[in-house]
């Protein structure tokens, strides 16, 4: 009974962690470039098939493409296909993101909402406006005509799911994710840049709600298992007459 008690309790704990992950997904459902995650579980078995329940292994980021939505921002970019924007923070550290909501700073760089700089592009001070093509080429309009002033390149990883989530829809390269590889967008089979669009989070509210219901019911049935094991212990205690 103690094993049944433990197995059922471990199921409750695992579903609790599951719910944490789902709640995090839901909370960030409206964050541009956010990637939802799914909790992973593993069965616990001691040698000789003694059952020990389950364990939550931690969340795994799901890098499925989010929906592209038209956006009126002055420098909104979305990636269609794999790849990340390469950002540089105030300490010179590299961060990768799918959130392409940039704006022009006074020094001509493109910065995101957290003030991280998009690597590789600087818009001259006398440029009136700028657009970005599907191939990443930045074309600025000057008083005397248009000129290409740079190219936004994307970064791909061999194993993007091994990137470390540092919050704010930003990711950091790890030894497990492989070396960052620079890609030029716009090729036939590669990622493309969409100017004037943003990538919404890949979390679907309905899916998340379904997951909550499932997790809640799983939690409940495990709680019933704990109750049953407890009740059995009580019955066993009744064998001893007082």
């Amino acid at each position: 009974m103690d094993r049944a008690l433990f197995a059922a309790a471990s199921g409750m704990a695992a579903q609790q962690r599951n719910l944490d992950t789902i709640a995090d997904n839901l909370a960030n459902a409206d964050v541009v470039g956010f990637k939802g995650s799914a909790q992973r579980f593993a069965e616990l078995v001691a040698p000789g098939e003694a059952v020990l329940g389950t364990v939550a292994l931690g969340p795994r980021t799901l890098f499925a493409q989010g929906k592209l939505a038209r956006s009126p921002g002055p420098f909104d970019l979305a990636i269609e296909g794999p790849g990340f924007f390469k950002l540089v923070d105030a300490h010179g550290r590299l961060r990768y993101t799918r959130d392409g909501a940039f704006s022009r700073a006074a020094d001509g760089t493109l910065r995101n909402a957290q003030d991280l700089r998009l690597a590789g592009v600087r818009i001259p001070a006398d440029a009136l406006s700028a657009t970005v093509g599907a191939d990443g080429n930045v074309e600025a309009t000057f008083s005397n005509g248009k000129r290409t002033i740079g190219q936004i390149r994307l970064t791909e990883f061999v194993a993007p799911e091994r990137l470390r989530d540092v919050g704010g829809a930003l990711f950091e390269a790890t030894p497990d994710s492989g070396k960052p590889r620079e890609v030029v967008p716009g090729s036939d089979d590669g990622p493309k840049l969409r100017f004037g669009m943003l990538e919404e989070s890949n979390v679907t509210i309905i899916d998340a709600m379904m997951q909550i219901l499932t997790a809640q019911r799983a939690y409940e049935s495990n709680a019933k298992g704990v109750q049953a094991a407890d009740e059995m212990l009580r019955i066993a205690n009744n064998l001893q007459r007082g």
């Binding site: 059922a8 579980f41 019933k224 298992g225 059995m232 009744n238």
Partner: protein, 119 residues
């Protein structure tokens, strides 16, 4: 022809074996329930059978893939939560019945011990 009884083959031992079997059944059901969200989990099936020493439960992995391919995060891995819940309840009641049997045999023996003392 004399019937040969096994040394442990008495009522209390039989009823106790049923209690142990019910406990094993609960263990298996809770293990399956605990892993209702585990990817690639194969549920354990409980088979009860009768031996000279009472009831035993054997466990067997259900190996054929009963789960279906699912969208990320939506559970389906072959664990039938309803069947497992019923198993939890059934195991609990079976345990209770077996305990009652042990208690009844114990009470009957106590009565005969008292009767023997009076006469």
């Amino acid at each position: 022809m004399a019937i040969r009884y096994h040394a442990r083959m008495d009522g209390i031992a039989w009823a106790a074996s049923a209690m142990v079997a019910a406990r094993t059944r609960l263990e298996i059901a809770t293990q399956n329930l605990a892993n209702v969200s585990t990817d690639g989990f194969r549920p354990i099936a409980a088979h009860g059978f009768l031996t000279a020493l009472g009831v035993t439960i054997s466990r067997e992995r259900v190996l054929e893939p009963a789960g279906s391919i699912r969208a990320a995060g939506l559970v389906s891995n072959g664990v039938d939560a309803i069947a497992e819940m019923i198993d939890v309840l059934a195991a609990e009641r079976a345990f209770e019945s077996a305990q009652k049997a042990v208690a009844a045999i114990d009470a009957a023996r106590q009565k005969s011990a008292e009767a023997a003392r009076i006469k």
